[in-house]
């Protein structure tokens, strides 16, 4: 790509400068920006696959595909869909792509603390991904337990659970190593004058996320090891036939997997917090409130896991404690939402695609969050648990939240990452079917759940058919919009206009360096003298 004025400015990170060229240069890079792009490429690929799987599941629910796809295959489909989406996309998603690319730049550093470890994390990620794919075709075939691998079914089923679980274990390693790297980076590599409360809020979000990754991921790692040992040696800890307890499995699984949902959403919230001030042309409302709410989500988020087990037969005391804690964890999210809206107040708003996706994020996340609160109320949970309502809830938060946040961040930082600008009109045009389709699909699921449609069902009872059709048609609009979105960006990478260094008028450090950034980020490490969002009082 453009390295024409190499004599005047340092070459961009996209230009090979070392002894290795082309693909090899990328696969051996320790540049945090290149690693971010490697993650991006890998994730888009897996994502497309999982998207296709989701699409096919909708067709099954139209009952048109039931001759082609057996019940066993359907069970494998939702397991694969869930595993890929969760472990290969939304958990690593924003930290691995944008955290890697922008965290060092945002705090004025030249790279992360352990660049080689960073590349190792990517290789762990790829190894896990490949194992996950292998598990589909080897052994007894694709796992059919759902992404939660509940014992004793996961211990008894003849499908290839062991390999899939091992893949998740390896992915967990990747996640932990990234967490170690980010915490150390933030503690040790901030530029002179970059005090904690002068950090952009995305860094706070990534920092909180990294702590959850460290404190929760090992629990899933050991749990998955136990599942494997159980399958191979029958150690009997989860197997009721040997005195084990399936509920212990559920506890251990959710001790990680609930905090994991905050691993997914926090960085997305962080990205949203960067975008709003830039387009409102004003400072963020309530900097400290947002920073501390990230920490609070990380802290309290680790304490609510058993709200996934209200109907499992655990003790009454535990039900009450966990329902209470679930309500408390919703407060910091509410604080963030109100501060975001407050930041729009008396701004001078420059409406651009990233802002559109940001507002979409807030709207959809609120629906997701509010449905979450409904499930957290005990009397309601006994009705909604394991129905399509849950499926609706988590698609709203994960897709409407994390993935929309991902899209917003991608639109915001795309010109910086690739030095190209996309067609804004095409983005607006693909937003519309995406938004309509999304709500048809997932609001349909919420209603289905309220009417008692259980999740993970290959065939549904006739009374649910109409809404299933609505949802499926919604998924077609959605996919249409998504394809438009990706086509636009892909086109822009190769044929887009050259982007300016600071197309949006942002104030954080990444906008002070060229697009795409040079290898070492900064010619000279900047000295920071003020907070991140200090716009001049007068109009520019």
């Amino acid at each position: 790509m453009s390295g024409t004025h190499a004599s005047t400015a340092p070459p961009s990170y996209l230009v090979d400068t070392g002894t290795r060229k082309g693909l090899m240069a990328w696969l051996t890079t320790t540049d945090h920006k290149r690693i971010g792009v490697l993650y991006l490429g890998a994730m888009v690929t897996f994502f497309m696959v999982a998207m296709g799987v989701g699409f096919v599941m909708r067709l099954v629910q139209l009952t048109t595909f039931q001759k082609l796809i057996s019940a066993q295959t359907y069970n494998a489909l939702f397991t694969v869909h869930g595993v890929i989406m969760i472990f290969l996309f939304v958990i690593p998603g924003l930290p691995a792509v944008f955290g890697n690319f922008f965290l060092p730049i945002l705090i004025g550093a030249k790279d992360v603390a352990f660049p080689r470890l960073n590349l190792t994390s990517w290789y762990f990620f790829m190894a896990g991904a490949i194992l996950a794919v292998l598990s589909l075709f080897t052994g007894g075939g694709a796992p059919d337990t759902g992404w939660s691998f509940y014992a004793p079914f996961s211990l008894k089923t003849g499908t290839n659970v062991s390999l899939a679980v091992f893949a998740a274990f390896v992915l967990g390693f990747s996640s932990m190593l990234t967490g170690i790297n980010f915490i150390t980076t933030i503690h040790r590599l901030r530029a002179p004058g970059m005090k904690w409360f002068r950090m952009p809020l995305f860094c706070w979000a990534v920092y909180s996320t990294a702590w959850i990754q460290l404190l929760a991921t090992p629990i899933i790692a050991i749990t998955l090891v136990l599942v494997i040992l159980e399958r191979f040696f029958g150690i009997g800890i989860f197997d009721p036939a040997k005195g084990g307890d399936p509920l212990l499995y559920q506890h251990l699984f959710w001790i990680y997997s609930h905090p994991a949902v905050y691993i997914m959403i926090l960085p997305a919230m962080g990205a949203i917090t960067e975008i709003i001030p830039t387009f409102a042309k004003r400072t963020i409302f309530g900097y400290k409130a947002i920073a501390f709410s990230s920490i609070a989500i990380a802290a309290v988020g680790s304490l609510v896991w058993a709200h996934h087990m209200f109907t499992s037969g655990m003790s009454n005391v535990a039900q009450i404690v966990f329902s209470l804690l679930t309500m408390i964890v919703a407060v910091p999210s509410a604080i963030k939402v109100f501060n975001w809206v407050g930041t729009l107040y008396k701004g001078s708003i420059d409406f651009q695609p990233p802002l559109l996706f940001t507002l979409t994020f807030i709207f959809l996340f609120c629906i997701g969050g509010l449905t979450g609160v409904m499930q957290g109320a005990l009397a309601v949970n006994v009705h909604l648990h394991d129905t399509y309502f849950i499926v609706g809830h988590f698609h709203y938060v994960m897709f409407g939240g994390t993935v929309m946040g991902f899209f917003a961040a991608l639109l915001y930082w795309f010109p910086k990452m690739f030095g190209k600008m996309y067609s804004k009109k095409a983005i607006y045009a693909s937003w519309f079917p995406m938004f309509v389709g999304f709500n048809m699909l997932y609001f349909g699921m919420l209603i289905l759940g309220m009417l008692g449609m259980p999740r993970r069902y290959y065939v549904h009872l006739p009374q649910y058919h109409t809404l299933h059709v609505v949802a499926t048609v919604g998924s077609w609009f959605l996919v249409l919009g998504l394809l438009g979105f990706f086509a636009t960006l892909l086109y822009a990478i190769f044929k887009g206009e050259k982007a300016e260094d600071n197309p949006w008028g942002g104030l954080t450090l990444e906008w002070t360096i060229p697009s795409p950034p040079p290898v070492e980020n900064f010619d000279e490490i900047p000295t920071i003298t003020a907070g991140p969002y200090v716009f001049p009082q007068e109009a520019q």
Binding site: F114, R188, A216, P218, I222, L226, I237, G243, D245
Partner: protein
């Protein structure tokens, strides 16, 4: 990057400690499982503990404690630029680690001999709580043994590095970090001893 890396020993130790955080939580998950099950089956755990050889467990504790000591001593030696002593201390640690594994091996062999291993026909006839006890025993001591093995390998590499001089008085962060790992393995064993061997 390599060649002109900016050196930050505190950063390196922070990274190592964060890694140890994950190790602590990893074993923490097992301790959680242990206490959950012990609460359910107090009598069976008592009984199961009686089947273990407490003497071997205690000897192994002393072995590991001593090996922990020799690791710190080797750091002190490096700080005093006493290369020969440092290597000697490391070699002692490695030796003690091997002793630990050998004793552990005998212990496991005895259990296998008595049909006390997961899925053994004999174990299947015992009360369920004892089956769980032995499941946990093999999992936890096994995972710990694996860590000892990794620790020995790491220390061996470190001893070599001391020999070649890449670890020396003004640059011994790798040795410190390797030592931290070894101590954590020791701490885990400190907990395993009363949970299993002294449970009776």
């Amino acid at each position: 990057m390599t060649g002109h890396v900016h050196r930050d020993d505190l950063g390196a130790r922070l990274g190592m400690w964060l890694f140890l955080v994950t190790e602590m939580i990893l074993f923490g998950g097992l301790f959680i499982a242990y206490s959950y099950m012990r609460y359910r089956y107090p009598a069976e755990f008592h009984h199961g503990g009686g089947e273990l050889n407490a003497t071997l467990g205690i000897i192994n504790t002393i072995v590991l404690l001593t090996s922990s000591l020799t690791v710190v001593l080797s750091i002190v030696a490096i700080q005093k630029a006493d290369k020969r002593k440092a290597i000697a201390f490391l070699a002692t640690t490695i030796g003690l680690g091997l002793v630990f594994l050998v004793i552990k091996g005998f212990e496991w062999a005895a259990k296998f001999h008595h049909g006390l291993y997961p899925s053994a026909p004999h174990l299947g006839t015992l009360p369920q709580g004892e089956q769980v006890f032995f499941g946990l025993y093999f999992t936890m001591t096994g995972l710990h043994g694996l860590h000892v093995l990794v620790g020995i390998s790491v220390l061996t590499v470190l001893a070599r590095m001391v020999g070649t001089g890449s670890i020396r008085q003004d640059r011994y962060i790798h040795l410190e970090n390797g030592g931290l790992y070894w101590h954590l393995v020791d701490v885990i064993w400190i907990f395993l001893l009363p949970l299993f061997y002294l449970a009776a």
